[in-house]
């Protein structure tokens, strides 16, 4: 499927340019910026994992940036359609993905899990299937939103009813096509059904819970505003308890304010650019 035309936020490009022109900036800084855009992150990982490079399965943005080089990243960002004007619904989806990435990072650090960056990346990409459905099947997407509204069901149910598949499957299918590592594919595929995740159940559980927490917080918009059911298996896998959850929520709410600030900033530079 063609992902060359997926839009990226113009604000990111301006910032990335400023960072690359400053010799004091580090790859980590750039990686942090790139990780705030699920589409750009997906494209970078896709390129880093393409067989023509021959790298062994790259799963973090900072590794991909070091392997590909900053100039490649810059041109990738630039080649996304800069003048694509953000519609309200895609800002919501972008915020939802970003929020889930933040939530996953908070969970992973609280629980001292290994591979925090991979987990955040998986959460950032968990709804990439929705971006694809939205961009490639615009009419279907509008129908989906109408169906969500009309029947008062979740986006997931609407997708299954209308398309016979769902964004988790579409996302996983794409990620597989892009040769992304399994530790990213599995959480994308299983974030609504943790029991089907066999090899990376902890990661899938974190993404599952991150999705739920962000939906509970009301940050961003992923197509519907219904909090999904917490799966007992995910809860057990993470050894979740009420006191841990309390700490998670407190930190997440705090972080989401910074995220909102970042989002406003990105949209602000959007307007001045166009």
């Amino acid at each position: 499927m063609n992902t060359r035309s997926l839009p990226t936020l113009p604000g990111i490009i301006t910032k990335l340019n400023a960072l690359t022109n400053n010799d004091k900036s580090s790859v980590q800084e750039m990686a942090r910026l790139v990780s705030s855009d699920q589409v750009l992150s997906a494209r970078i990982l896709k390129l880093a994992n393409s067989p023509s490079y021959g790298f062994y399965r790259v799963s973090t943005i900072s590794n991909a940036m070091i392997l590909l080089g900053v100039n490649v990243i810059k041109s990738l960002a630039l080649s996304s359609s800069i003048f694509e004007i953000m519609e309200k619904s895609s800002v919501g989806l972008w915020e939802h993905s970003l929020g889930a990435g933040v939530a996953a990072n908070v969970i992973a650090r609280h629980l001292n899990l290994p591979e925090c960056e991979e987990i955040s990346t998986a959460a950032l990409l968990h709804d990439i299937g929705k971006v694809i459905v939205r961009l490639n099947f615009g009419d279907d997407y509008r129908q989906l939103l109408a169906l969500v509204e009309e029947k008062d069901i979740s986006m997931l149910e609407a997708e299954r009813e209308l398309l016979g598949t769902d964004h988790a499957q579409v996302g996983a299918w794409l990620a597989t096509g892009w040769n992304l590592p399994d530790k990213l594919i599995e959480p994308i595929c299983c974030h609504h059904d943790v029991k089907t995740s066999e090899n990376f159940r902890i990661k899938s559980s974190v993404v599952h819970l991150a999705d739920i927490l962000v939906k509970a917080s009301g940050f961003g918009f992923s197509g519907d505003d219904l909090v999904p059911r917490v799966q007992p298996l995910a809860w057990e896998t993470l050894g979740m308890t009420e006191p841990i959850l309390e700490g998670l929520i407190e930190e997440l709410e705090d972080k989401l304010i910074d995220t909102k600030n970042f989002s406003l900033e990105m949209q602000g530079s959007d307007e001045s650019e166009v």
């Binding site: 979740s154 739920i212 927490l213 939906k215 509970a216 917080s217 009301g218 505003d225 219904l226 909090v227 999904p228 059911r229 917490v230 799966q231 007992p232 809860w235 009420e242 959850l245 309390e246 929520i249 407190e250 709410e253 705090d254 304010i257 910074d258 909102k260 600030n261 970042f262 406003l264 900033e265 602000g268």
Partner: protein, 105 residues
């Protein structure tokens, strides 16, 4: 007390917490609590890459223009499909308690 994005801060708001540098949170504060913000001060903070400030009261309604009651009503609505689920209800209870506490301050 409310933590808000700097972009939503306005002159006249009073700092409820010290502002510290993002890259050195344990270092000396850039601006102490009790200080009233001015446009030029906000501009300078922006240049210092400060992204959020904590101010007295609740001057900004981040989620549209919702009152605390409305925020809680919307919060409850998001859970309407999963009321019967024990684990999700547990999560809701913890989250709601946090919100009530945060909004009450």
């Amino acid at each position: 007390m409310q933590k808000i994005p700097l972009l939503q801060a306005g002159s006249g708001m009073v700092l409820a917490r010290d502002i510290v540098r993002t890259e050195n949170p344990n270092g000396p504060p850039i601006c102490g609590k009790g200080v009233a913000l001015t446009d030029s001060l906000i501009e300078r903070l922006k240049r210092m890459e400060v992204t959020t400030v904590t101010v007295e009261g609740r001057p900004v309604f981040v989620e549209g223009d919702k009152s605390p009651e409305e925020i809680l009503t919307c919060f409850d609505k998001r859970f309407k499909k999963v009321e019967d689920d024990p684990l999700t209800s547990k999560l809701k209870k913890v989250y709601r308690n946090y919100l009530v506490k945060a909004l009450g301050e």
